[in-house]
């Protein structure tokens, strides 16, 4: 796209309305995508990016399955319908059969129904962990970046200490903190690890904006500080935060599986979750690898979907790639 001096090609009318003059000015200053916001131009590039489309398709499918799973599943995921075919002594699990295309699990429950219904809990773990991590990071990062001074120092020291432990190790430690592990403790453990990362991201973005023209302009116009932070600075920081949140969704689902593997996951498996199914299959993996392969495959595909979307959004929002 080539920049134009003004919409009509002539000089802005001197006595025109203020709006027209501003429009003309905005048009004349646009170098690349004249008058197109970063978000709009990012979206235009995303729409044609196969990486984004594949990732988005995976996510949409995942969410639809999760929402419809109670109707999609042929059997009750916690009913031990094939219990008669389970033999501890001979190390046998129910094979695939009429009505049970993937067979049963170690206690005779329908594997396919468990996978379908499991998507719901998996989605929940991912979304809640991300939202909690994001909320915590948003509060800390905004405080540090907007207020500066000792608040900034204090918050950043806490963040530094949290970041001085490898994140997964931190999640394990937090997961081990609770007397009775449950879905909630898993979510909390995975979420806490993300707080310092979001906090850093937001603080950096806030600091960068404090001296920028649009904030100075708002201050000069007498906009209240709170409004500057919430109306002008925060919205401008959202791009990288959304990208990070998308990537964290993938990480959260994988980390939850790791917690289950270490025995720090939800022990109640009446409502299935993929990470828990994978963690629970570790003892039978040598004789019945399929019990691990199916939930692992689901986790990998979904994590990949979120990663693809996150990465392609990051590329699209990068002003360097704006063409």
């Amino acid at each position: 796209m080539t920049g134009s001096v003004s919409r009509s090609g002539a000089r802005p009318p001197l006595l025109g309305g203020r709006k027209e003059r501003l429009d003309a000015l905005a048009a004349s200053s646009g170098k690349g995508d004249a008058g197109v916001s970063l978000a709009a131009s990012a979206w235009r590039r995303l729409r044609r990016n196969p990486v984004f489309l594949v990732g988005a398709a995976i996510i949409v499918l995942f969410v639809v399955v999760a929402l419809l799973s109670p109707w999609l599943a042929a059997h009750d995921p916690s009913a031990r319908l094939l219990e008669g075919q389970v033999s501890r002594a001979r190390n046998e699990i129910p094979p695939a059969q009429e009505g049970f295309p993937l067979g049963g699990d170690q206690v005779g429950r329908d594997l396919l129904s468990r996978l379908l219904v499991g998507s719901q809990q998996t989605l929940m773990v991912g979304v809640f962990a991300t939202v909690i991590g994001l909320a915590g990071g948003l509060v800390l990062g905004t405080l540090a970046g907007a207020l500066g001074g000792w608040v900034d120092s204090l918050v950043m020291r806490v963040v530094d200490v949290m970041l001085s432990i490898p994140s997964l190790l931190l999640a394990f430690s937090i997961g081990a903190l609770f007397p009775r592990p449950s879905q909630f403790t898993v979510i909390l453990a995975v979420a806490t690890v993300q707080i310092p990362i979001f906090a850093r991201l937001l603080r950096g973005s806030m600091l960068a904006q404090r001296g920028s023209d649009h904030v100075l302009a708002a201050r000069a116009l007498g906009v209240r500080p709170r409004a500057i932070v919430f109306r002008h600075m925060l919205p401008n920081s959202l791009g990288p935060v959304i990208v990070q949140a998308t990537l964290v969704l993938a990480v959260a689902i994988i980390d939850a599986a790791a917690l289950s593997f270490l025995g720090l996951g939800n022990p109640d498996d009446s409502i299935p979750e993929w990470g828990q199914m994978l963690g629970g299959a570790q003892n039978v993996i040598d004789s019945h690898p399929s019990l691990a392969f199916w939930p692992a495959g689901c986790i990998i595909v979904v994590a990949l979907g979120f990663t693809l979307v996150g990465e392609s959004m990051r590329d699209a929002l990068d002003p360097k790639n704006r063409r």
Binding site: L168, L177, Q282
Partner: protein, 336 residues
């Protein structure tokens, strides 16, 4: 430079102190506790109280921390209550440290050896088959849970094909002289080649599992960094000056692209211990990661305290080394 290093080391001390306090309080808050872990369900009320007093767990928490700190400064981190009951925590650390270092070093060498050249080649032929394969592979690599990959490798190469050992650090019954505790190095030093080879064979699968994520990340960062640098004006200038391709690649492209790559290598090295917890558990590899996994399971406070603080220290130190290595790679950093 020296002052900078000293200041960073002082910061490290602060981080370790705060961290030790946090972990101390935090681990005390762990449910169950070592008393239940040691006595199980059978313990009588009497026995419980006695053991609690014996372990000093009945005193106020700051008294406990004070004592802990005092003893820690003289190298005493208490006795293990669950991982290897009766052994000193420090002993367990020293015993297992070489195993994890050996494993991590092998893993990171694998990741760097494959990640940097492939990332560089992918960037030079952007959009080619190697580039596409690498990008897709690195995305998938990050999406695969580490422990599942470890299981997959073990299932395929150890259980099904039987090419490599499935667990441990060395074959049972093998006589080997121990000098350093690093089994491969020991074998080389004492010229016991079969012992060195045996130890190496035990490292391959866990190291491969552990290397996946660092490899994927190093590959992508190298690719991105090289792509960035190839776009720079000074590369075009160098080309128009008529420098040979070889000189441009080595001096202008690779050197400048290395900054973010070195940071990434450092960060990934520091974070390896988390992956080691999972990988070592799958392969029953007797390192720090396995001790941590057992420690969580059995609520072994002394061992967990020591290992987590140590993990954090290594992480911070590695980052310091990374920052210092900037000055070596990029002279501009030195003058700042």
């Amino acid at each position: 430079m020296l002052r900078y290093t000293l200041r960073r080391l002082l910061q490290l001390l602060g981080v370790v102190l705060v961290l030790s306090m946090l972990i101390f309080g935090w681990l005390r808050a762990l449910p169950g506790g070592p008393v239940s872990a040691l006595l199980g369900e059978r313990g009588t009320e009497e026995g419980r109280r006695e053991l609690t007093a014996q372990l000093g767990l009945d005193q106020p928490i700051f008294v406990q921390y004070g004592k802990f700190l005092g003893r820690a400064l003289s190298g005493d981190f208490g006795m293990s209550t669950g991982v290897q009951p009766g052994d000193a925590a420090v002993e367990i650390f020293l015993q297992r440290f070489p195993a994890t270092v050996e494993l991590s070093a092998f893993a990171i060498v694998l990741a760097v050896l494959f990640g940097i050249p492939l990332g560089y080649l992918a960037a030079r032929r952007r959009g080619g088959w190697l580039d596409n394969l690498g990008v897709v592979g690195s995305l998938v690599g990050v999406a695969v849970p580490v422990f599942f990959l470890a299981f997959l490798l073990k299932y395929l190469f150890a259980v099904q094909l039987g090419w490599l050992p499935a667990s441990g650090r060395q074959t049972g019954g093998l006589e080997a002289t121990r000098v350093t505790g690093f089994f491969v190095l020991d074998g080389l030093l004492t010229r016991e080649w079969d012992a060195a080879l045996d130890a190496l064979a035990h490292l391959v699968l866990p190291a491969m599992a552990l290397a996946t994520i660092p490899f994927a990340v190093i590959f992508r960062i190298t690719r991105a960094a090289v792509l960035d640098v190839l776009d720079e004006d000074y590369v075009r200038t160098a080309e128009s000056k008529g420098l040979t391709t070889d000189v441009i690649r080595r001096r202008h492209v690779l050197r400048n692209a290395m900054l973010p790559v070195v940071t990434t290598i450092g960060l990934q090295t520091g974070a390896l211990l988390a992956g080691a917890v999972l990988t070592e558990k799958v392969f029953a590899f007797p390192g720090l990661g396995e001790a941590l996994a057992l420690g969580f399971e059995r609520r072994d406070y002394p061992v967990l305290q020591l290992l987590i603080v140590m993990a954090a220290m290594v992480y911070v130190l590695v980052n310091l080394v990374v920052d210092l290595s900037y000055a070596v790679i990029d002279p501009r950093v030195r003058t700042r």
